[in-house]
Symmetry: C2
Subunit: 345 residues, 2 copies
């Protein structure tokens, strides 16, 4: 009952905020707001030619988080729901560490309670930890007197990624915050470009239920590569970037290749070559490992191609007794965003 009342007040506040946003475009949410609910999307990083650089946000796949502002400084995780058993201790939790980083970095005088409703499976390769880290800083940002930029949010979120993977990297958190497709051009100085979107693009995701250890996946990376291959891949990344600005579908398709990392990592993914072939046979224009796997992504300019591919992939894996999740979606032009509806579970 208390919970219902609380949600009622919150929804009222959200309604007023939305109304004011339209009638007074310069209006910002009151820093007195006590509670916000957000959606933070799943993301695909690496994206073939853009290892460590490219990432994009997925439409309709993601977590939900609720933030409550409290007087006591610090962060506490009050609830976690979802498919995995995640640590609730702030310092061990990706969202906890990221939220603390922004609160401390911005000298906030208040504290935050976080509810995490995970939908993205941990270790799936579509940015589960990034969604928590990005969501955490995006959520906290709503309560700051002077909200920080997307670039600063990404920098804070990277602190959370350290908990999950041991190092600060932005290729998942950046698209989760900015939305669309992002390019990390440099870490020093830290710079991210929000790339234009390619019209009419559809995305297919397959997630075979296998575990890939981060250690094993890292060990597969070659220490060095031939200069020739490095230059070819570099041209492909530059071509990919140009293809988005030029709306050049052909260039987009032939740029999305990975000759540096995929050959070394694909053996960790059962039936990789077969399923890649299926994507081509279905009319898809690119196929690759999402992050460090086990999820894989494909692009197509016709939704039917994605649907055909997902069906074929499902049949292939099922006939080999492997369970997979499949998603037919698009690149989301929005990253983390405020929600007004109630949590469903």
């Amino acid at each position: 009952m208390i919970c219902d009342l609380e949600f009622g007040i919150w929804n009222l506040e959200f309604g007023i905020w939305n109304f004011l946003k339209i009638t007074h475009p310069t209006y910002k949410m009151s820093t007195k707001t006590r509670k916000v609910k957000i959606f933070c999307p799943a993301t695909v990083a690496n994206v073939n030619c853009g290892f460590d650089a490219l990432g994009f946000a997925l439409e309709g796949i993601g977590d939900e988080m609720i933030f409550r502002k409290v007087a006591q400084p610090g962060v506490s995780i009050t609830k976690i729901t979802g498919p995995d058993d995640l640590p609730i201790a702030t310092q061990e939790n990706v969202a906890g560490v990221a939220a603390l980083a922004i609160l401390e970095g911005e000298n906030a005088s208040f504290g935050i309670e976080i509810e995490i409703h995970k939908k993205i499976r941990s270790g799936s390769g579509i940015g589960s930890s990034a969604a928590s880290a990005a969501g955490a800083v995006f959520g906290v940002n709503q309560f700051l007197k002077t909200p920080v930029s997307n670039l600063e949010l990404t920098r804070y979120a990277m602190k959370g990624e350290v908990v999950a993977s041991g190092n600060e990297h932005a290729d998942n958190v950046a698209p989760c915050i900015y939305g669309g497709t992002t390019l990390v051009t440099s870490y020093d100085p830290f710079h991210i470009v929000a790339l234009p979107s390619m019209g009419g693009l559809h995305v297919g995701i397959i997630h075979p239920h296998i575990k890939i250890s981060t250690k094993e996946s890292r060990e597969k990376l070659p220490e060095s590569v031939s200069l020739k291959d490095a230059l070819v891949q570099s041209q492909k990344l530059a071509g990919f970037v140009a293809s988005l600005y030029e709306c050049d579908k052909e260039l987009f398709a032939h740029s999305l290749q990975d000759i540096l990392v995929e050959p070394h990592r694909k053996d960790l993914l059962p039936y990789f070559d077969s399923v890649k072939q299926l994507s081509q046979d279905s009319g898809c224009v690119a196929f690759g490992i999402s992050g460090s796997g086990p999820s894989m992504f494909t692009f197509a300019f016709a939704k039917a191609s994605i649907e055909t591919f997902l069906q074929k992939a499902e049949t292939l894996y099922q006939s080999n007794d492997l369970k997979i999740d499949t998603y037919c979606t698009q690149i989301s032009n929005t990253g983390c965003r405020l929600l007004k509806d109630e949590i469903k579970n």
Copy 2:
């Protein structure tokens, strides 16, 4: 006297052609035209982060060539003027081989006589052979019943580059044909992007009069590079491309670095580090080896920075008894182009 009359007729024809171009935009130069004179610009290839991929055309530095259509199929070089002793035999001459390639490739029923008036010194590192190869195919293209695209011209011009360097490469011939800044995204399929221009950009070129053997320069290239460096450089190239589309001067400046090749080749260039430092001290935003040297280039958003730098560089080299040529120029948005005035020398 015959020559004057010939030039008079040619100028009249050129005048009519120019008039018709304006009044009838779809009008194409008559394939009966017997003679054209063209300008083919010097170019800078590699451009730090874009080894083997990027190149740009220089304003006001370049060669002139005159083409005469003759009945007898084949190509003959009738005259070469300029600072170097270049072979006049068609099969040994870059322009000759490139002109033959397009004539044969397009099944032309006529032949071409070429006069080459070189201004770009051979072995200077600002695309001397590329200007000849690109100029040759551009010139021949004026006489074809169905002129070919810039991409096809580049493909033919690459045949000429083989004579000079032993391999087909497009990083100089592409900007010489397209103008502006070009990006070779792939050789298979062969694809070139004409990148947008960065407003307000000035270019400085220094050409110390030293010889670098192609063999020695090639041997300096590492066989392999670390994956980490390959990825960093790749991000810089992608960032450079994005900076042009975004008109982002800051991103432009910090993307123009070369961690893969410059460290290995700079020892071939006397005082490289000192002169690079001078460019920074003068307010220039990038500095690097042009092609495989010995020329070097710098960029600045103020012409005064280039002028200051060139003066300082000249003093440095002179005090070390090294002669240099310097150029204060801009990126030329036009590649090879038709001329109507008479040859000056």
